[in-house]
């Protein structure tokens, strides 16, 4: 036999590789266990799948904590596990945990199978974790596609609901298109540099730019390939991050999807896409083949402005939050443009804060949607502040955090990100971003005003839960799952606003292990 492979796939190497993907493997294992519950009709009906998925996520968090501090590479450099991954794994797992918590009551309103639902959520979480830890263009593509397929299925999960199916179809077609851009981009990058591993590409480019001493016109004739590859790659990822020109799917998909899944898409998928973008940005884009910061500058400004204007004009709360998430993506991008150690750690901090405020806002929307008290129309929120003081207060707090008012995590995140951009000299960008966040405060605070100061003619809205339809609120009590989710979100949003140093240290540690390479 002609054995070309220099390294034999030894047992030792396999063991080492397995350790680096243990958190993902645990999630996949639990996803299969949950899926197997469908074989037993009695078990599948109850709450077992819900509890099992929570346990699975908890186990995975435990493994991440146990492995934290280690610096592992596995499967011939396909995946890495270091401080960067620890931070983002915990963020993604918490986002998944919150999604599962708020799902139970919502999904019981519909005649759909439960175990498959939870198992696909778990598969989606594992895909996001693979995406974050992937260090190889093939891995990036496959795990991105894995994540997207889980999202398509979950978006259209409510069968017979035309809006849900329409959203899934739109998301599928546009998402496939974006994936095609991404893989086309990776092909061009590979053609230019001849490596698939991100670290190898980094080393290759570093050597060339060291020899040539210049940033422009490097890569004797291969610069065009690399530029076009990176541009196409950006398009593919910007779609997942729902930045402005590639946002078209966002409002429809967020609106049509089941609300827990909307929350999942707005938090988990966005965080995973930003995480891998940050990694690739640091390793490849930074070589200034062309000035990518200018392109990102335009994307950020357009996303912020468009998201805020569209959010002001929309009256459906899910659409409003969808547009606001486009604007938030613009703010997060400011941190990446700002760059430097400070900018990257600020981006991570903001991503972490963003998860909790968005998931919390969606949890409150789910409560109101479950109990049929108010529909998704923002106008119907008038006067709920007095009927349901706690959840309304929580909603008000999340809205303030999204608007970036002090004492909340959102404010600290914005402060961190914008100051990083100022440090790098992007004054105009920060000016536009500040103008935008002042503008955005209008529609966030409009909801609070609606909740606490009802209009005269709207106050007659029946705030009594319809008979036999009190899914979310039973005898005035909100079911414990959603309550727990809201309390977790409140806790983190408050702590990140009052005592941010803890999380800043964590983000710094994470960014440090990213920058070390």
């Amino acid at each position: 036999m002609h054995n070309i492979m220099p390294a034999i796939y030894g047992l030792n190497s396999l063991e080492k590789s397995m350790i680096s993907i243990i958190p993902e493997a645990v999630i996949i294992l639990f996803a299969f266990i949950v899926l197997f519950l469908t074989f037993f009709e009695k078990i599948a009906k109850g709450k077992n799948s819900y509890y099992l998925s929570l346990i699975g996520i908890a186990f995975s968090i435990l493994y991440v904590v146990m492995l934290s501090g280690k610096n592992l590479t596995g499967f011939y450099g396909s995946v890495v596990f270091n401080g960067y991954d620890v931070f983002l794994f915990i963020a993604i797992l918490l986002s998944g945990f919150l999604t599962v918590l708020v799902s139970k009551d919502y999904i019981e309103n519909f005649d759909v199978p439960y175990p498959e639902y939870y198992s696909i959520i778990l598969f989606g979480i594992s895909a996001m974790m693979f995406l974050v830890s992937s260090n190889n263009l093939i891995m990036v593509f496959i795990s991105l596609e894995f994540m997207s397929i889980c999202a398509y299925i979950l978006t259209g999960y409510i069968r017979g609901n035309t809006r849900s199916t329409e959203a899934a179809l739109k998301y599928l077609i546009l998402g496939t298109f974006a994936s095609a851009f991404l893989i086309f981009g990776s092909v061009f990058i590979y053609a230019a540099v001849g490596h698939l591993n991100l670290n190898s590409i980094h080393t290759y480019l570093e050597n060339i730019s060291y020899v040539k001493h210049g940033s422009a016109s490097i890569l004797n004739g291969m610069g065009e390939y690399l530029t076009i590859g990176l541009l196409l790659f950006t398009v593919g990822l910007a779609f997942k991050m729902s930045l402005f020109p590639f946002h078209a799917w966002t409002p429809d998909a967020y609106d049509g999807a089941p609300t827990p899944i909307t929350s999942f898409m707005a938090t988990g998928i966005k965080v995973a896409a930003f995480a891998i973008f940050l990694r690739i940005y640091l390793l490849i884009y930074n070589f200034n083949v062309i000035n990518f910061n200018d392109i990102l500058w335009i994307l950020a400004v357009l996303s912020m402005t468009f998201g805020n204007i569209a959010a002001i004009l929309s009256s459906n709360i899910k659409r409003l939050l969808a547009y606001s998430s486009i604007a938030q993506a613009g703010y997060i991008l400011v941190g990446i443009i700002g760059g430097g150690f400070y900018g990257y750690s600020g981006t991570l901090f903001y991503l972490f804060a963003y998860i909790f405020m968005t998931a919390g806002a969606f949890a409150v929307v789910i409560i109101f949607e479950n109990s049929d008290i108010v529909s998704l129309d923002v106008k119907k929120y008038s006067g709920v502040g007095y009927k349901y003081p706690f959840i309304s207060a929580a909603m008000a707090f999340f809205m303030l955090s999204l608007a970036g008012i002090p004492v909340t995590g959102g404010f600290m995140g914005k402060f961190y990100v914008f100051s990083a951009a100022v440090k790098s000299g992007y004054y105009w960008l920060v000016f536009i971003a500040l103008l935008n966040s002042a503008f955005a405060a209008y529609y966030y605070i409009k909801i609070i005003v609606k909740m606490y100061m009802p209009d005269k003619e709207d106050s007659s809205v029946s705030c009594i839960a319809a008979e036999g339809k009190n899914y979310g609120i039973v005898n005035g009590n909100i079911s414990e799952g959603i309550m727990l989710a809201i309390i977790i979100c409140l806790f983190f949003t408050l702590i990140m606003g009052v005592y941010p140093q803890l999380f800043i240290n964590f983000a710094n540690y994470s960014a440090a292990s990213l920058c070390k390479i």
Binding site: Y76, F130, I149, E224
Partner: protein
């Protein structure tokens, strides 16, 4: 070799044009098969025999059977009077121009580059394409391979969930 390239190129472009200009969907589908065969010819010219076989098996075989089956099930015999908007045409022209410009930029700007690494043409011809791909799939890219299998599994579950009437 060069003559073969031009023959395949002619067949590919001709059949691709016929795919979009035929009124009968079945004829279009059959021209698409021809186009796939011509592409497989390119792969053989590039010393990628495995990819050529896969192209014929998967695209010209399995996927085209699906397409023809769907055409049969929907019972479309002839597309009459396809509506074309004005702005559709404009978008089409813009995309065509951009793609053509891309091709020109690559062919003018890019330089020919010999394959790097240990797998030169001589080595590949000696041990065969399939073995190299197999070795890579089960060593360097095992994880991608495994994740792809889980991905397909999840996609099957999704298709089942969407298609089944009563669960």
């Amino acid at each position: 070799m060069e003559a073969l390239f031009y023959i395949f190129a002619f067949i590919a472009i001709f059949s691709a044009l016929m795919v979009i200009s035929m009124k009968n969907p079945l004829t279009s589908a059959l021209y698409l098969v021809l186009c796939f065969f011509a592409l497989a010819g390119f792969y053989v010219l590039l010393d990628m025999q495995f990819l050529a076989v896969m192209q014929i098996l998967v695209y010209a075989g399995a996927i085209m059977v699906l397409v023809v089956l769907v055409i049969m099930l929907l019972n479309i015999s002839r597309l009459n009077a396809v509506k074309t908007d004005f702005h559709q045409k404009i978008i089409g022209i813009v995309i065509a121009v951009v793609l053509f410009a891309e091709i020109v930029i690559y062919t003018v700007g890019g330089k020919t580059k010999k394959p790097t690494g240990i797998f030169t043409h001589a080595v590949i011809n000696k041990i065969g394409n399939t073995q190299v791909i197999g070795q890579f799939l089960f060593t360097k890219y095992t994880l991608s391979f495994e994740i792809a299998s889980i991905l397909l599994f999840v996609a099957i579950i999704g298709a089942y969930l969407f298609a089944k009437k009563k669960l």
